[in-house]
């Protein structure tokens, strides 16, 4: 193991100032402090070193040390990462946090290792909700006939179909124009993205379905990991863990601020009753929870539900 000072390259597609970016920078400060300057983090925000899926591959190849990604680009690589993205799996933010901080979260982090990645910790990503150009979604029937933009993901396509909408995979860069010109009638995302993409300008009806509450994940390249001593690995794990409460503080403030900003600009908000939505997505669960490991994970997460 190397005893030289080591600078870890971290990437994020979110810009500077975004909670995940600031959390990893905070982790870098902790790391520098606790290692006496032997370890530090150099942060590249704003996707300058590639979009999520690409940066993830580069991380696996050892070109990047630390990478904050959504779970979606990990789905085709690590099946277990599909589970936290199941629609309506978590009943609340608290439920998601206790599951990810606990045993189920640890099992998902461990599942990354055979694929050249080390899972360090989870960060919040809020709840994804539907927004449309013409009406609030109060019940699944309101989605009927609406073209909803989804990411290029089988899970999201199936979910929107199951809810009665017409899933329309569309490149992220074309969504604003697509909403403005009616190529799609709606899309779905969390409050901060809804604000930063400016989609609220053209689709001012936001319905808090919070259908997917998948967290984000901080990963490290296994190639970089293998070059470190046992002590340094433990230190990195600890600093990553310690950046989580810091991130959540920033995140909660960010959600409040985004929500207040778009509401002030005239966006209308609905808080639909989600049980009708939940029932409709059962076939999606049946299809995507494919292995006994995944089924066990789902059961363990459900058992943690504070509402039960």
């Amino acid at each position: 193991a190397s005893r030289d000072a080591r600078l870890l390259r971290a990437v994020d597609t979110h810009p500077d100032g975004y909670p995940t970016v600031e959390a990893v920078k905070h982790m870098g400060e902790l790391l520098a402090q606790r290692s006496g300057g032997r370890l530090a983090i150099e942060h590249y925000a704003g996707g300058v070193l590639g979009q999520e899926r690409d940066a993830l591959e580069i991380t696996i190849f050892g070109g990047i040390d630390l990478n904050r990604v959504n779970l979606a680009p990990l789905n085709p690589i690590v099946p277990e990462t599909v589970v936290p993205g199941l629609p309506f799996l978590f009943s609340s933010t608290q439920h998601m946090r206790s599951a990810m901080d606990g045993e189920p979260g640890r099992r998902i982090l461990d599942a990354l290792e055979p694929h050249g990645l080390i899972g360090l910790c989870f960060y919040d990503s809020g709840g994804r909700s539907f927004y449309t150009t013409e009406r609030l979604i109060e019940e699944p029937e309101d989605l009927a006939g609406l073209k909803i933009r989804v990411q290029s993901s089988d899970l999201f396509v199936e979910m929107v179909s199951a809810l009665g909408g017409n899933p329309t995979p569309m490149d992220f860069g074309e969504v604003y124009q697509g909403l403005m010109q009616g190529t799609v009638d709606g899309a779905e995302n969390n409050w901060p993205s809804y604000e930063s993409t400016r989609h609220f300008e053209v689709a001012p009806y936001y319905s808090e379905t919070r259908h997917v509450m998948a967290p984000e994940i901080l990963t490290m390249s296994a190639i970089s990991w293998d070059r470190l001593s046992e002590d340094d690995r433990a230190l990195i794990r600890q600093c990553a863990q310690d950046s989580v409460p810091y991130m959540r503080g920033l995140w909660d403030a960010k959600v409040e601020q985004s929500r207040a900003a778009v509401v002030a600009s005239g966006v209308r908000v609905a808080n639909p009753e989600i049980s009708a939505f939940q029932q409709r997505v059962q076939p999606v669960w049946d299809r995507f929870v494919a292995t006994p490991d995944m089924r066990a994970l789902v059961a363990d997460i459900q058992a943690l539900d504070p509402a039960l």
């Binding site: 085709p76 690589i77 073209k147 290029s152 993901s153 899933p167 995979p169």
Partner: protein, 161 residues
């Protein structure tokens, strides 16, 4: 070698042109299907993207033989024949070396991402990197042909203009 080279160039062109036509059909279908069927085909975007790498890289490789890649030729044009020839050989050698690196890097990409799947298509991600490896080999081959021709004092005759 020259027969093989002409065959490779022609095949790359046909293959690429076919890929472009298929891409057009897929995106066209995506638009039509959105209106004819309730659901737009989820696979269309990824399938067209998948085809794009194949057709670009094969045509780009053939472009090395055909010499259509844009370059600044002022310096070479201003040199005497002997020196120009040396410089031209150096350039082809650099292109060839890049081709070899591309074949190597591409092959590594294929292997390392074979277990990943392309969403909505279900194909191995590695498959989309195969053209990188194949085109890299073809580029190195064509660069070699140019070097041999330069040394004989001749030129590789372009096939498609």
């Amino acid at each position: 070698m020259s027969v093989l080279s002409r065959f490779l160039s022609r095949m790359s062109l046909w293959f690429s042109a076919f890929g472009l036509v298929m891409m057009t059909a897929i995106i066209g279908w995506q638009v039509v299907a959105r209106y004819l069927l309730a659901n737009a085909p989820a696979w269309a975007e990824q399938a067209a993207l998948f085809l794009m790498l194949w057709f670009i890289l094969f045509a780009a490789a053939a472009g090395v033989r055909e010499g259509f890649h844009i370059r600044l030729s002022i310096l070479q044009d201003s040199l005497a024949e002997g020196r120009r020839q040396l410089m031209a050989i150096a350039c082809h050698a650099i292109v060839g070396a890049f081709g070899i690196a591309m074949a190597y890097g591409g092959a590594q990409l294929v292997v390392e991402t074979w277990e990943h799947t392309i969403p909505t298509l279900g194909l191995p991600r590695g498959l989309s990197y195969v053209p990188l490896a194949v085109a890299g080999v073809i580029i190195a081959f064509f660069a070699g042909e140019h070097i041999l021709a330069e040394r004989k004092g001749s030129k590789v005759e372009p096939l498609w203009s």
